[in-house]
Symmetry: C2
Subunit: 334 residues, 2 copies
């Protein structure tokens, strides 16, 4: 019993072929589901593979076949809206016969690094979720590979995003309709689309003849920015009657800080978010927000990538989806 375990080598096609008494090529055929093997042989091969615990090596497969049929997705690991997107990307990719590889940007790992990782693993196309990089980087990436940008426009590349200005306009319309005049916007700073949302806000205010009431507070796309903005508002001379946050996470920070300081929402101040991510929908949050349909965005992105892989000469397209205001419990007449 002192025999050492055989060096538990991963079984290969050769092993399966030997065991099934056929050639390597036949095994390959069977595993690719191609015709040319009799039903009887097919099942013998499958059985042999099963017994050996064989599973095709995708590196070798990748190398041999020109294509990897793998989609790389660049994401942020703690962004609820991106989580919604990722969840919707998997089924659509599978439907089109693509695998998905995820790579996360984190505080210590920038987008370039994350993308390089995906590229080295031979992803045929990269889907970038809300990338926060400059257009030059994207353009260069677009030359090197197929890239689809989700969540913002990207000149020269395929992009899928929602009409931010339109979404913000709906939110402003809603608030004005309720009777609000003092409507503040906490913006997304230099984040993706922040500029679009900001100008959308300013334009919408102007359209209602409230250009002089417009007020933009510097913010960002996370809770802390909402907290800071709320504190700034509380410290100011007078609270606005409504706040339009850069996104839901920002709105959450804002909401909570206001409430903790005794400000009734929506009684005294109305709050509107942006994205309609899972957090906003939680019944205890019940945030009025602008919905971007994550499933639709994801499906469009995957399809754009697939279409471009099928035909590289396709002109890059910008898909703009119309967002939709979802009125919930954080808005009311002033």
């Amino acid at each position: 019993m002192a025999t050492p375990l055989p060096p538990r080598r991963r079984p290969t096609m050769v092993d399966v072929a030997a065991r099934a008494g056929v050639s390597r090529a036949l095994v390959s055929l069977v595993f690719r589901g191609q015709p040319g093997a009799s039903a009887e042989t097919r099942s013998r091969v499958l059985a042999a593979a099963e017994e050996l615990g064989y599973r095709p090596d995708s590196a070798a497969r990748l190398l041999a076949r020109g294509r990897s049929r793998t989609l790389g997705v660049l994401m942020t690991v703690r962004e609820p809206f991106e989580a919604d997107l990722v969840e919707a990307i998997y089924p659509e990719a599978e439907r089109l016969g693509y695998e998905v590889l995820l790579s996360a940007r984190t505080p210590g790992r920038d987008e370039a690094t994350a993308v390089e990782g995906l590229l080295a693993h031979r992803c045929e196309a990269i889907v970038l979720l809300g990338p926060d990089v400059d257009d030059a980087f994207l353009a260069e990436l677009g030359v090197r590979t197929v890239a689809v940008v989700v969540g913002r426009a990207a000149p020269g590349l395929d992009s899928v995003h929602s009409a931010d200005a339109e979404g913000v306009r709906q939110a402003v319309d809603h608030l004005v309709g309720l009777g609000h005049r003092a409507i503040v916007h906490v913006d997304g700073g230099t984040g993706p689309n922040a500029a679009a949302r900001r100008t959308g806000y300013l334009d919408a205010m102007a359209a209602h003849g409230l250009a002089d009431r417009a007020r933009v507070l510097p913010g960002a796309y996370h809770e802390d920015a909402g907290i800071a903005a709320a504190q700034a508002l509380l410290a100011g001379p007078e609270l606005p009657t409504a706040v339009l946050a850069a996104n839901d996470r920002c709105a959450l920070g804002l909401l909570d800080t206001l409430r903790r300081n005794g400000v009734d929402v929506p009684g005294r101040v109305s709050v509107v978010g942006y994205n309609d991510d899972r957090l906003a929908r939680l019944s205890h949050v019940d945030l009025t927000t602008v919905r971007q349909d994550a499933g639709l965005l994801a499906r469009h992105a995957v399809r754009a990538a697939a279409a471009r892989l099928d035909d590289p000469d396709l002109a890059p397209g910008e898909t703009e989806l119309t967002p939709e205001l979802v009125v919930r419990g954080t808005t009311a007449p002033p």
Copy 2:
């Protein structure tokens, strides 16, 4: 100008070698940072590669080299605590010379599928974050590859988790110390470690002579469970003075629902979470919770994987880290 673009083939080592006027092998040497190339040649090779936009193909590299030096991580895309873990895994993996590939379980994509994807991409080891599968599956995986389980014990495999019973005990001690007697536990249902936390709670209560006051409410590891539990408590004959939630997300739902129903936290009811994920730390949440050190868990997990890859005969080990109660603003004397 009608010349079609040359079929934008990805450049290979051969191209670089040709351009630099050296052999393929030399280029390989340079890219692996091995000695054996003069500084002058080295920079010529690098320059040629740069000009061509060459990047090593990791599929081919993987195939040629026996090892892929890639770690697969199974995660849930919307779990804040797992996000903390993932963020900590990257730097540690890099330090040890491993790449990281992420694969997400989602409602429509189970753990087995996610793991298969990683395996097909030749991950040498799989790190499973809070897997919700049975031990048989884990055991089988452990035979097929190197697997490290994070967040729960796994017989026969390497695992890294914190001492849940101990963490819960600290929380109960803290509450009892504040004067609480009516302490309810909203549990994690069938989720990983839920049982450990539940018995930890029951034991701790018993240790304080409060066995007959112990009360467990069925719950789960998400906000909705917290909301439901809060509603159940509010509908009950009498509110407890303290609630110990299954995790932070559950605590959050609970907290918010209580507050929205006019229950002062911590004035009337104290709430304790579990995990200390980023959400709990947000200043507007300020949750008293049991901290599991994500960074430490992640580092241990990566190191365990690496150690086992270096020496497959290593006995599998269970690392239990001691959690630590973090007292914040949601607990006070009854």
